[in-house]
């Protein structure tokens, strides 16, 4: 009797519209979040212990009598740069966006310093809590001005290393068409090896540069995902 009634009346879940079923987990999540907020988020927010001070030096510029560091805060707390030490000496400085750098904020620290070409410099940013953020300039050299002629020169260099060798390589096509299969295999093997070396080298250098970027940007993951995306894009075009 009951079994028949069950068969005539489908269960509650089956009678509800699909959108309502989708709403159930969402409303549960909202409820849990509200409860957490109501209880003052126990275990979250208030960290114990001293502040975590992290600054990443994004860019170093050297001009005559001047060292410029662009720093970004990639830690959880604000950082106040109180003093700057260059090679064991306190030095005068100004900060373009203030000495206090909030989370993900950036400021450019301008240091008046008689640096000498070819010498090494160790810069310490002394924070308000007495912590230090160290940055090394292994060999000092003036930073090139970024004018249009600078970019033109860089474009020319790109042509030298990227386009001209490939164009020259194409000129071998008539030659390759006339040689035996054995020789072609040898050339292909050589080319694949060369590309593998370049690929590994580029990946390692990309990871190294990615690691130098503020950690919040996930530089190394970006390199790997970028490579993967490029592969799919090329495969799609092909």
């Amino acid at each position: 009797m009951e079994a028949r009634a069950g068969a005539e009346r489908p269960p509650l879940v089956a009678r509800l519209p699909a959108w309502a079923l989708g709403l159930v987990p969402l409303s549960l999540i909202a409820g849990a979040a509200a409860l957490l907020a109501l209880l003052g988020a126990p275990g979250l927010g208030d960290r114990r212990g001293p502040p975590v001070e992290e600054l990443a030096v994004e860019r170093t510029v050297l001009r005559p009598g001047e060292i410029q560091l662009t720093v970004r805060n990639d830690g959880p707390d604000a950082v106040d740069v109180a003093q700057v030490i260059v090679n064991d000496a306190f030095v005068p400085f100004t900060a373009s966006d203030g000495e206090s750098v909030g989370r993900l904020g950036a400021t450019t620290i301008d240091i008046g310093y008689p640096w000498i070409e070819g010498e090494a410099y160790e810069i310490s940013l002394l924070t308000s809590t007495g912590g230090t953020i160290d940055h090394e300039i292994p060999v000092a050299a003036e930073t090139p001005e970024q004018s249009s002629s600078f970019f033109a020169l860089m474009a020319l260099l790109g042509l030298y290393v990227g386009v001209i060798p490939v164009a020259l390589g194409m000129l071998w096509l008539p030659f390759v068409r006339r040689i035996s299969q054995g020789w072609i295999r040898l050339l292909i093997a050589f080319t694949v090896g060369l590309l593998t070396v370049l690929g590994v080298d580029a990946a390692l250098e990309g990871l190294e540069i990615g690691a130098a970027a503020p950690s919040v940007f996930g530089g190394q993951a970006l390199v790997l995902l970028g490579a993967l995306a490029a592969y799919f894009a090329l495969a799609g075009v092909d």
């Binding site: 003093q83 000496a89 306190f90 030095v91 005068p92 400085f93 008046g112 008689p114 308000s128 230090t132």
Partner: protein, 343 residues
């Protein structure tokens, strides 16, 4: 580092570059945040050894290095039945945050709320009683350099049976011994880890005057110290009487021709030696101050950790004369100042 390594060159440059802070000092006021022409400067050399961003907040610190120079703690005295003088001092250890360079805070451990602790001054042969109360969150002691019984030495493990040795938070103890020998000594905490207990600020000068005193002079106390603000076992800030470059902004004012006596103590940690060098002058040096005859006439003296000595000199001409550690690194990192000789 080329610019500041040659301190005399710096002094010359300083003569050329007007320095607003000095005007404040001469008019009796405090050097203001505006008194730093070097801030943001650029060019061929560092024109002025100083901090960026003004001066420290002496009021919040609770002490001013300019006042520490001539601040001697004589304690309370009374004559005992035997005719001998009893001199009593009080020292309280407390944890306190202090500013050691503009904007740089340091969690110090202090005697009587200041770094260095008070300069205790007494006379040879007196009976001394130093009541020590530990209001810090950590155990401490007071260890005096001088001649005294073992249980008065302020060393953990010695004297606990009579209530001495290690003094726990909330506890107190009275050290009692004779003022002996005359000279310039020091006191400091002697709890392990020693380097940490001393470098956080638990030290001070201890002067025992000879029975017949010393010639009348303008007397100054200079405790050479440093601060390891990032706990890497090396100092970030070096100074005399705690605040780096303080006497660059507020020169030590003395009178031309007057005898100046400097009680110089080295309480620096992490670096094996410290030194004192004066420009355009020479001084008589009395090592540890235990003799009334100087051992040399010189312009530079070196002191290892815990060493001290008395300097006597006169300035024959008015003007501004630099003094600093002749360890150039320390000078560049704050241990540098000026005497302002008034006509």
């Amino acid at each position: 580092m080329g610019g500041a390594a040659a301190a005399p060159a710096l002094a010359l440059l300083h003569e050329v570059v007007p320095h607003q802070g000095l005007h404040h000092a001469l008019s009796g006021g405090q050097a203001s945040a505006a008194g730093h022409p070097g801030h943001g400067g650029s060019g061929g050399a560092l024109a002025h050894a100083s901090f960026a961003g003004g001066t420290v907040d002496h009021r919040a610190n609770g002490f001013n290095p300019t006042e520490i120079l001539r601040d001697f703690e004589h304690g309370r005295t009374r004559r005992m039945a035997s005719g001998r003088v009893l001199r009593e001092f009080e020292l309280v250890a407390a944890d306190k945050q202090i500013e050691v360079a503009p904007g740089v805070k340091f969690d110090a451990w202090t005697y009587n709320g200041r770094v260095p602790g008070p300069t205790l001054r007494c006379r040879e042969g007196e009976l001394l009683r130093i009541r020590f109360a530990n209001a810090s969150a950590h155990p401490h002691t007071v260890h005096f350099h001088g001649i005294h019984p073992a249980h008065m030495d302020g060393v953990p493990g010695v004297g606990e049976r009579t209530g001495g040795g290690l003094i726990e938070p909330g506890q107190s103890y009275t050290y009692e011994f004779d003022a002996d020998p005359f000279g310039l000594h020091l006191y400091h905490c002697h709890v392990m880890p020693l380097e940490s207990h001393i470098s956080k600020g638990l030290y001070g000068a201890f002067v025992i005057d000879p029975r017949r005193g010393r010639p009348q002079a303008d007397e100054l106390v200079m405790v050479m110290n440093g601060f390891d603000t990032n706990f890497d076992a090396s100092n970030e800030v070096y100074a005399v009487n705690t605040v780096g470059f303080h006497y660059m902004d507020e020169p030590v004012r003395v009178r031309r021709g007057e005898l100046v006596r400097i009680y110089l103590v080295n309480t620096l940690e992490f670096d094996p030696v410290n030194s004192f060098h004066i420009h355009a002058n020479f001084f008589h040096y009395y090592p540890t101050g235990t003799s009334l005859e100087p051992t040399e006439l010189t312009a530079t003296v070196v002191q290892p950790q815990g060493q001290r000595g008395i300097l006597e000199l006169r300035f024959p001409k008015p003007g501004r004369y630099m003094f600093h550690a002749h360890v150039s690194e320390f000078a560049q990192l704050g241990w540098m100042g000026f005497f302002e000789v008034l006509a």
